[in-house]
């Protein structure tokens, strides 16, 4: 009996590890290929498509991206837009999530339902009214207009995730602070926030990544190259003469690496959030 169990577990181990290894190769390959292609020379990229490691390493592609393409400009645009979205979005969402948990549990349930429903809205559904409204307010090609539209998907998702974190704060601690004469906002900032800071930071980083990665609204609202975010400028550069694949992979590397690194940091906290938030 015991032996059989051992044998079957050895078999299951082997299957599990081999399966996961195959998946890991698939999961990591595009990132690896971007990095390898970005430092290969022109001749090598087209001359030997299946060679993995570069024979010589060159940074020419990155020089073109930063120099001729002025990609740094667009990186700054993206940082400003994603950063502001995160700052405003998280402030709004943290206040809202706390308010839902502590003061309006019943109305909060309705609000959470509405928030989840908004998660179903196709981005393309909002794209039409946004392009009309942004035009009306003269905010085409403006970062402010883009930031406002980004709040539409950042806030609901952040509220949803944060509600779960705020629920873990014990009421007694807050009550003690209230007795000492602190008002609601003081309690929120000095007592509640420190407890949930790790969670809030994780959600903030996730918000930043999503804003950094966003494409559709940016495509519709930004049409001058120097105002574009990285995602849209990459699209607009595709097919231009100056762009060979090496250059494109260098630019891609600069866009994807921040996302991947940030995501690695927060994955443990965010990951289960979707399932947990929905059940608790």
């Amino acid at each position: 009996m015991r032996r059989k169990r051992l044998k079957s577990s050895l078999f299951a181990d082997t299957v599990s590890y081999s399966y996961l290894t195959v998946l890991a190769v698939f999961a990591a390959f595009p990132l690896l290929w971007i990095l390898l292609s970005s430092v290969k020379g022109k001749g090598e990229l087209t001359g030997n498509p299946t060679s993995l490691l570069p024979r010589t390493i060159t940074l020419d592609n990155f020089r073109i991206v930063m120099g001729q393409l002025r990609f740094g400009n667009n990186m700054i645009n993206s940082v400003i837009v994603a950063g502001s979205t995160t700052l405003i979005g998280i402030t709004v969402a943290a206040l809202g999530a706390y308010g839902i948990v502590r003061f309006f549990p019943r109305f909060g349930k309705v609000l959470t339902r509405i928030l989840i429903t908004t998660y179903m809205f196709p981005p393309i559904l909002l794209a039409v009214p946004y392009s009309i409204l942004v035009g009306k307010f003269g905010l085409v090609n403006s970062r402010i207009g883009l930031i406002i539209t980004y709040l539409s998907f950042s806030v609901p998702y952040a509220v949803w995730l944060l509600v779960g974190f705020f629920k873990t704060v014990p009421l007694e601690i807050e009550e003690a602070a209230h007795v000492d004469g602190a008002n609601k906002l003081q309690v929120f900032i000095r007592v509640v926030m420190p407890i949930v800071t790790p969670g809030v930071i994780a959600v903030a980083i996730y918000t930043f990544i999503n804003a950094w990665n966003e494409f559709l609204y940016s495509l519709i609202l930004m049409n001058s190259t120097n105002k574009m975010t990285v995602a849209v400028v990459l699209k607009s550069l595709e097919g231009q003469e100056i762009m060979d694949w090496g250059v494109m992979m260098a630019a891609s590397a600069m866009v994807v690496i921040p996302s991947v690194i940030f995501f690695m940091f927060i994955q443990k906290r965010i990951a289960g959030g979707l399932a947990e938030g929905s059940i608790k």
Binding site: Y19, L20, I124, S252, S259
Partner: protein
């Protein structure tokens, strides 16, 4: 804190406390109202008008836009493509994500490192998904086509993104690559909530692994998986970026889904009114799907042991 006039104080405090409590949720309500509900309502409004992207004036046209859309064969083929895209992607994502979660849950050493590597696709911006796969699958210099030829699987370089027979499958593959990690991670965290002693008890009672999987694991995680499937269905159905950036809906509209159709009508042909009608139809369809899903989920939730 008990002194004279306590009653009044209390009342006043309660009044203030209600008002200050509202301040917490007011910004979030404003965002939802102004950035989500109002625009959707205005979309519905514009769907009955001749709104144009460039012209300032428009007039009411009744149901004309809807009739135009619903009688357009291209819309219907886009809708069928959307269904195909969603169903195939979802089956693949759930299958890969679920089995990966089971494997991760099974192994003891190296779980962290495998998990970290496996979630990499999740962090990819859509533009980089598109560019990297276009490069890897490139019909002239691409790694995979050359590898397939080298391995002797095919004789000539396969045109994975431009050949009519291959392009749809390739897109679905890319979407599975991108979406499986989210399913995996959520199923894994659901698996870890299953109490271990139940497995031991089942083992003592002589249950086989398959039996305990079916009777203990499945009921515990079915609600989470169900909810994930709902959210993923919506998300995949709504997805615009991936296909738009990889194929733009081509070749010959073969991979054109409803969101891309809506974009082409609105920004290609500048007919925002018609485009609104498309997106409103999309929304209605999703609401219907959700209503059905949630009915099933509620039923499952009642039957699950939690």
């Amino acid at each position: 804190m008990r002194y004279k006039g306590e009653y009044n104080m209390k009342n006043r405090n309660r009044y203030i406390s209600k008002a200050s409590a509202v301040c917490f949720i007011l910004p979030a309500i404003l965002v939802v109202g102004l950035l989500l509900l109002y625009p959707v309502a205005s979309s519905v409004f514009y769907s009955f008008t001749s709104k144009n992207l460039i012209k300032a004036t428009y007039k009411f046209v009744g149901l004309k836009n809807y009739i135009k859309v619903l009688s357009d064969p291209l819309f219907l083929s886009s809708f069928v493509n959307s269904l195909k895209w969603t169903v195939l992607s979802l089956i693949g994502q759930v299958l890969v994500g679920f089995t990966a979660a089971l494997a991760l849950n099974h192994i003891k050493k190296g779980r962290g490192i495998y998990r970290t590597i496996l979630i990499i696709p999740w962090a990819f911006p859509s533009i980089v998904i598109a560019l990297s796969w276009k490069w890897i699958l490139n019909g002239v210099y691409g790694f995979i086509p050359h590898l397939l030829v080298k391995l002797g699987i095919v004789n000539e370089l396969p045109q994975l993104l431009t050949s009519k027979g291959l392009v749809f499958g390739t897109l679905v593959f890319i979407n599975i690559w991108f979406g499986a990690p989210l399913i995996m991670v959520n199923v894994l965290s659901a698996l870890q909530t299953v109490p271990k002693d139940q497995y031991e008890a089942a083992h003592i009672d002589g249950a086989s692994r398959l039996q305990s999987f079916y009777h203990i694991t499945v009921p515990h995680i079915s609600v989470v998986v169900g909810l994930l499937v709902v959210l993923r269905t919506i998300w995949v159905f709504n997805n615009f970026d991936t296909i738009f950036l990889i194929t733009g809906g081509g070749p010959a509209n073969l991979t054109q889904t409803v969101p891309i159709y809506a974009y082409n009508v609105g920004w290609g042909q500048k007919q925002l009114g018609v485009s609104s009608a498309v997106t409103v139809l999309l929304m209605i369809f999703l609401l219907l799907i959700c209503a059905v899903y949630f009915r099933i989920l509620n039923k499952m939730e009642k039957e699950s042991p939690q």
